[in-house]
Amino acid sequence: MAIVETASPAAAPAAVAPRSGANSTWKRFKPTVLALIVPLLLLAFWQVATTQQWTRLIPTPYQVAEYMVDFAAGGIYDDAYSATLTTHLLASMSRVYGGFALAALFALPIGVLIGRVPTARMLLDPFLQVMRPIPVTAWLPLSMILFGLGAKSAFALVCLGAFYPILLNTIFGVRSVDPKLFEAASMLGCRGNAQFYKVVLPAAAPSIFTGLRLGLGLAWFVIVVGEMTGVPQGLGAVIMDGRTLSRTELVICGMIVIGLAGYISDRVVVTIGNYLLRWSPNHHG
């Protein structure tokens, strides 16, 4: 009895034709093209709606663009807001990043405590769960009483906005460490407190990073509310002024700058995160 080895059929003809140049160019630009479709449609609708005078209260895209140039560089209208974009942007950024950093400073250790120490969880978790649904806008009056009119209040509100996502993701991260990893660490001679630094923190890093990313996003999200507290500078302040002065183009300019600044800020964070978490199969987005 023998096994007869039959010759394998001749190799199938090369099935894959070389990719055409046009095809690969399309592949490269496809994401950008797709991403631009909705904004461009919206812009077209805006253009039509304003030139057809469906509303008289909203300026045309061209007027807003012109005003954006004046807001950034001046030289067109030369009013109180000309060439002040950088000042306002920097003012808002200092509150966003400052409030975010303060939130992280509180949320990370509290999150670790709640996640790892049952007593801390029983002590703090119910309280924080009740506080969490209260929106930042609701805190505005109290914040102004506690911290006064101005920058401190803005800072506190931004901090509050960023606090919960960082806290919740930190708790989740430190609680959901694979128990096998503790066993692996202890059979390799890493016990007790050393496990916190060598197992818990690295294992929780992806969740903590997600929390920080969401927290920073929310810090940008609440900046307008934060700057309703009577601060003279900041993108939120510009939008509130635009509303009182009925200068809709100013409001729209402020909105666009916040959107772009928040987006760029997020891309930077994601890029850093992807590098630091390159070990994690779930962090390549």
Partner: protein
């Protein structure tokens, strides 16, 4: 070579009872086992026979409900680097490279960077992963991950290697390769290995002694010394004769309880 005077591991009348809500589960009942240095033991049995429980007690992850588990005559109080565990699902640290996973134990013992590097280099070569030294676990195949897990335990000077169905999740070809590699490492290093499996063939291929366990309650059915010469041929009549005997023993509990 083996010091037959004091066994490396002694299991004396060990039972393990788990409480699951209202149910009491006898995972392991009155187990006796003595393992000498340099032996390759396979624990084999159907699920629920207590083989993993016994292994975890030897590792120090679980304590017996009654009876004694001793290493070199001293009670096993908890996990220790002298007893390394290789898990079925690898349990590598995903945030560490292959190199740092293998160096985790030596670094935890407080060795300096140069010493750790020397040890890591040696064991990375032993398992043939030098080219992947800086890869992260998620970039490796299952077989490579398990090689890292084995190297990680060996790099920590483990005297006893406990393996919980380590090749169960691998494809057949990779499994055969790793079985050969494991035997080679075992012969070269004179380690003591306790290997849990549910595959009779794997047990006969690897072990000096096959401990057959049966469920309900989990207990040791028999302890079978194998004197087949190595390398073993799975197709030989001797191999098949042993397989038949062990299979019968494995299914002996079916008479008592319908399966």
């Amino acid at each position: 070579m083996a010091d037959t005077a004091t066994p490396i591991i002694e299991i004396k009348g060990v039972s393990k009872v788990f409480q699951l809500q209202d149910q009491t589960i006898n995972a392991l009942s009155d187990a006796h086992l003595s393992i000498n240095k340099g032996e390759f033991i396979c624990l084999i049995g159907a699920s629920g026979c207590g083989k993993s429980t016994l292994l975890r007690i030897m590792a120090g992850f679980d304590q017996p409900s009654s009876g004694e588990a001793l290493m070199w005559g001293k009670p096993i109080a908890g996990p220790d680097p002298s007893r390394g565990m290789v898990f079925q699902d690898y349990a590598l640290f995903p945030w560490l490279s292959v190199r740092d996973n293998i160096g985790f134990g030596p670094a935890s013992r407080g060795l300096g960077g140069a010493e750790v590097k020397q040890i890591v280099d040696k064991f990375i070569d032993l398992v043939g992963l030098a080219k992947f030294a800086n890869a992260y676990p998620h970039q490796l195949s299952g077989g490579m991950k398990q090689r890292v897990a084995i190297a990680r335990v060996l790099a920590n000077d483990a005297e006893l290697v406990l393996m919980d169905e380590p090749f169960g999740a691998l494809d057949a070809m990779t499994r055969e390769r790793l079985q050969d590699e494991l035997l080679e490492i075992w012969e070269r290093t004179k380690l003591t290995v306790v290997f849990v499996t549910h595959a009779v063939e794997e047990a006969i291929l690897l072990a000096n002694r096959v401990v057959v366990m049966t469920p309900g309650p989990g207990r040791i059915e028999s302890d079978n010394a194998l004197d087949l010469p190595r390398p073993r041929d799975v197709a030989s009549p001797e191999f098949n004769a042993i397989r038949r005997v062990l299979s019968t023993k494995l299914h002996s509990h079916h008479g008592k309880k319908a399966a």
